[in-house]
């Protein structure tokens, strides 16, 4: 490849909002219910049914718009996007084309080189999700589940401002954090509550005109996005280098094969016949409403990081990790408020919590243990009611079941044995069983005492205070 190329990327990001009910009816949005149990005449497109906008959807969309520096459209409308497909019960999707709720925003990301750049946001619009089609190969039929039909979405459309996969990931991470901090969505790519379509073109370095772009769908993880960007960049450069033309089309990424294939070309692009939905009244955003949403914006990550440094004096590494999720930051703050020991709380989060999250593939926002229980665990350890080893064991149960550590230690008999007599008895048994080690220690081998402490702790099932064991052992050996 003799020429230098530049990749130009814009994203369309769909985010499922965390409302309790659907965008235009009162049905639950809860995930995983039996098919078609969360439906009503409205979200199944029954004749005569009418949509009514869920106010929370509007508030979330405005909050995301404010967090991404958008202008809020004070007189917005919903439009119908007409197309026939069985997962779309009305055969039109209620969306926004002409007057979307947010426009002209942008977020700042850090570039690979350590600099900063702004990725522009063209618009954010509200729309309804479609149902789910299930193809039953065995029965040779297709079934439709309308539980997801009418679940609220926002679509965040960026400007073509990104130039690499790293920038794309940084932008997505930034959006994810902002939206999670707002509580507007859990933004999980794997579960589809955040979906990104990549619009990509290449051009010779220094060229002013954009190249012909393609749109890539079915990207379910950051890794898939990176691979798809690399793959598509290469494909387009190969086409140009071999004198062919890039065709404007929608492609589907197959992450297993590491390649994409055409879904539809521009020629088969449908005419969606958009027009304002006459069943919905225009959305008028009052000063008062805007003011209320603005006032309710949370402390975002950057501000939080600054405060943690000043208020708690935590190392930057800890702050980075804790603030990566609003839920973990909330946990940290609440537990610290109870026990007053930020570093100890941080240690639990950085150590055992991260280890178990990795082991059990748990997302930070799904951590279920309460800050009260974490604070209590720290107190129990401080007061030597349980040993460090036992605390870890208890924490593991807390991690999965959010048990009360004190009650659990009590019930399972895990509290440290401070009964001097019982300890003396066990030590005597250990000394009797390991004469060689005792001899070694007496001969000045300090290390041997470690082995004996370990044996005693083992016999006590970890419930002894290691310091006390050490003291009693040394005394006993000297006898």
């Amino acid at each position: 490849m003799s020429k230098q190329y530049e990749t130009v990327i814009g994203l369309e990001v769909h985010v499922e909002l965390a409302t309790k009910t659907k965008i235009f009816c009162g049905c639950s949005t809860a995930f995983g219910a039996a098919p078609n149990t969360q439906t009503c005449p409205v979200c199944t497109g029954m004749p005569g049914s009418l949509p009514v906008l869920n106010r929370q959807v509007l508030e979330y969309a405005i909050a995301v718009g404010l967090a991404t520096n958008c202008d809020i459209t004070r007189y917005a409308k919903f439009d119908r996007k007409n197309y026939f497909y069985p997962d779309n019960p009305q055969n039109y999707q209620i969306s926004q084309l002409y007057l979307p709720i947010c426009r002209n925003g942008g977020v700042e990301i850090e570039t690979k080189e350590g600099g900063r750049k702004t990725v522009g946001i063209h618009e954010i619009h509200m729309e309804e999700d479609a149902g789910k089609l299930l193809h039953d190969a065995w029965e040779d039929c297709s079934l439709v589940d309308y539980n997801r039909s009418g679940v609220p979405l926002i679509e965040i459309v960026s400007e073509p401002d990104m130039r690499s996969a790293e920038e794309v990931i940084a932008y997505l991470e930034k959006l994810r954090l902002l939206i999670q901090y707002l509580g507007a969505s859990d933004c999980k790519l794997q579960e589809g509550s955040m979906r990104a379509d990549v619009n990509l073109s290449v051009r010779e370095a220094g060229a002013e005109q954009f190249g012909t772009r393609t749109e890539m769908k079915n990207l379910n993880s950051f890794k898939a996005i990176s691979r798809a960007i690399a793959g598509e960049t290469e494909r387009q450069i190969d086409l140009i280098e071999s004198g062919e033309k890039v065709v404007q089309e929608t492609r589907r990424w197959d992450d297993v094969k590491g390649e994409s294939y055409v879904m539809r070309s521009k020629e088969d692009a449908q005419d969606y016949r958009y027009f304002p939905d006459p069943d919905l009244v225009p959305v008028v955003v009052s000063d008062e409403m805007l003011q209320k949403i603005r006032a309710a914006q949370p402390e975002f990550r950057n501000e939080k990081m600054r405060r943690y440094r000043e208020e708690f004096g935590l190392p930057d590494y800890d702050i980075e990790i804790i603030t990566e999720s609003r839920h973990m930051a909330d946990l940290f703050e609440a537990a610290t408020a109870i026990c007053g020991q930020p570093k100890k709380v941080s240690n639990w989060l950085m150590g055992e919590t991260l280890r178990l999250m990795k082991e059990k593939e748990t997302d930070a926002q799904d951590l279920c243990f309460s800050p009260e229980h974490l604070a209590k665990l720290i107190r129990l350890t401080d007061e030597k009611v349980i040993t460090g080893a036992v605390a870890k064991e208890v924490f593991e149960v807390m991690f999965t079941e959010n048990i009360d550590p004190e009650q659990y230690a009590e019930e399972k008999g895990l509290k440290t044995v401070n009964d001097e007599g019982a300890l003396q008895k066990t030590v005597a048994e250990v000394i009797a069983a390991n004469p060689q080690s005792v001899e070694d220690y007496r001969n000045g081998k300090e290390k041997a005492i470690g082995f004996l402490v370990g044996q005693t702790m083992k016999a006590m099932k970890g419930k002894a205070d290691p310091a006390a064991v050490n003291r009693i052992l040394k005394e006993a050996c000297r006898k």
């Binding site: 004749p47 049914s49 009418l50 007409n82 026939f84 069985p86 019960p89 009305q90």
Partner: protein, 543 residues
């Protein structure tokens, strides 16, 4: 007086006074339907058992003192585009032949709360698209004043049922005149309220921004009573209004002293039948005689209302009717080779000619490249029409004119020339575009003895002025007579017209088909024979 001749208010009073029971009233109506509906075909579905059960429950509530309103115990009919839980709702389309809703339209819920008993579902133009009730897949409805004439449409079944004494009053829906025009053709009172006054929840949409549900009744008092019962703010309909002034019966006073009434010159121009013109102007004179200040003025833009209406209504309809795809409910072809073929065939088989025409028109005006030229332009015209009315209402309390250029056309005449049929909506359509209330009431008969309708149009929220003016006129006019009185004249008129050779060859074909219908008869439930006939007539299944 026979119960079938009573108004709703009279009948309810008799029931509440214990002179008759709600069950007896329903039985009388059902007997009337049994006896006469074969002649007129007003109903698509009659809910005999349901109505009797409702009547028993209502009677018990009346006796317990729980129902005291003017509609308690009154048997009513409901247009078949209003959803009724557990009762088939077809929109007079083959597409919804087997559709049984799981919910009831809010307006019907309100009517039932007031103690009305639902007898059944009335015939209409398919999906309310038409002005004659001839596009129904369940056969044409005939005008009780003269069976060779249409009852008007699209709420023709409702208007004819009231006129034929097959119900006391009825609900219709009005998108471009679909309540007012059949009311005029059948000698009844019909009202289209201000947009947003009656909830559209459960009304199977035609043109969502224009559709309103309203009453079809024997007199103005019943009209006010029914409107008062069905008007409500409904959180299920975003376009529903919160109004405090829905005590419409309070406006039933004979007083038009000083009321400023304007007659648009545009409503008296070319194409207006002489008999209609004379009757309408005479009505205006009568109102002037009661103290109203009547004058003529130029409304302007009237000629643009029809193209704007057919653009907007068709655009909305093309989208509203997309949900009828054979997937979830309604007609699905038996010959389904793949998804797209299934869509195409189900819709081709399920929809009639007029519906297809409007879906195509609507899809065209919304399509990329034409949206600005047609749809947006139509919306601008709509805004200008509203402005023209605003200016008129700065000068007048009420605008007076005819409902339609002619009285009821003969069967078959209209469908032969759809453009002419569309032009027949010229006086009613602008009201829907501007969201205004308007009432239609009988003001005379033409030389054939067919009723002529007077239209009174008010500014938004001014239903009470309309009711006051209409009530005053009605009292002054005196009894209008019933279709029953005119039935004897039917045959003679039919011969005269036929001998004069005044209908076209295409019209002749229609007439003969209607003749078949007469023999086919009808007993409450539509027969497969009839529905086949209906679809054949409307063009049905293209190969």
């Amino acid at each position: 007086m026979r119960m079938t001749e009573m108004t709703a208010v009279e009948l309810s009073a008799a029931i509440r006074a214990g002179q008759v029971t709600a069950v007896e009233a329903v039985e009388e109506m059902l007997a009337g339907i049994e006896e006469r509906d074969a002649l007129y075909n007003c109903y698509v579905t009659v809910d005999r058992e349901g109505a009797l059960a409702q009547a028993q429950a209502v009677q018990a509530q009346i006796e317990a003192g729980e129902l005291t309103g003017p509609l308690a115990g009154v048997p009513v009919a409901v247009k078949d585009n209003l959803c009724t839980k557990g009762l088939r709702t077809t929109c007079a389309s083959r597409m919804l032949e087997n559709f049984v809703p799981t919910y009831t339209a809010e307006a019907v819920v309100n009517l039932r709360k007031a103690g009305a008993v639902i007898l059944g579902k009335t015939n209409m133009d398919e999906f309310a698209m038409g002005s004659t009730t001839e596009t129904s897949a369940y056969g044409v409805t005939r005008n009780p004043w003269n069976r060779e004439h249409v009852p008007g449409g699209s709420s023709g079944g409702s208007a004819a049922a009231v006129a034929a004494g097959e119900c006391i009053c009825a609900l219709g829906s009005d998108t471009g005149g679909s309540i007012r025009q059949p009311a005029a053709y059948c000698g009844m009172v019909g009202m289209k309220p201000t947009y947003g006054t009656v909830s559209r929840y459960g009304l199977i949409a035609y043109g969502s921004s224009l559709d309103q549900i309203g009453p079809l009744t024997k007199d103005v008092r019943d009209c006010a009573a029914v409107l008062e019962a069905i008007a409500s703010h409904d959180v299920k309909d975003s376009t529903s209004l919160q109004r405090q002034d829905t005590d419409f019966m309070a406006a039933l006073t004979e007083d038009v002293q000083g009321m400023r009434i304007g007659i648009p010159n545009d409503y008296l121009g070319e194409g207006l039948d002489e008999d209609v013109r004379a009757a309408v102007l005479k009505a205006a004179e009568e109102l002037a005689g009661r103290g109203a200040v009547v004058e003529r003025f130029d409304l302007s833009l009237v000629e643009y209302a029809i193209p704007a209406y057919y653009t907007i209504a068709a655009a909305e309809a093309s989208s509203n009717l997309e949900r009828f795809d054979g997937i979830k409910y309604g007609h699905r072809t038996t010959d389904d080779a793949g998804l797209h073929s299934m869509y195409r065939k189900s819709r081709s088989e399920g929809f009639g000619e007029e519906v297809k025409r409007r879906i195509m028109l609507g899809s065209f005006v919304l399509s990329s490249g034409y949206y600005d030229a047609y749809y947006l332009k139509a919306l601008r015209v709509k805004a200008l029409i509203k402005k023209a009315f605003d200016e008129a209402f700065a000068k007048y309390d009420v605008i007076l004119g005819p409902v339609a250029p002619t009285t009821a056309p003969r069967l078959g005449e209209s469908l032969a020339d759809p453009l002419k049929m569309y032009l027949g909506d010229i006086y009613t359509i602008a009201v829907n575009l501007a969201g205004l209330p308007a009432i239609s009431l009988p003001c005379g008969k033409d030389r054939k003895g067919l009723p002529i309708g007077l239209q009174l149009i008010g500014d938004c929220f001014q239903e009470k002025k309309l009711i006051r003016a209409a009530y005053t006129y009605e009292k002054n006019r005196g009894p209008f007579g019933t279709a029953g009185d005119a039935e004897h004249g039917t045959a003679a008129d039919e011969r005269t017209q036929a001998d004069a050779g005044s209908f076209r060859a295409s019209g002749e074909g229609q007439i003969s088909q209607c003749g078949m219908l007469r023999h086919g008869g009808k007993s409450g439930k539509p027969e497969s024979e009839q529905s086949t006939e209906g679809t054949d007539r409307t063009g049905g299944i293209p190969s």
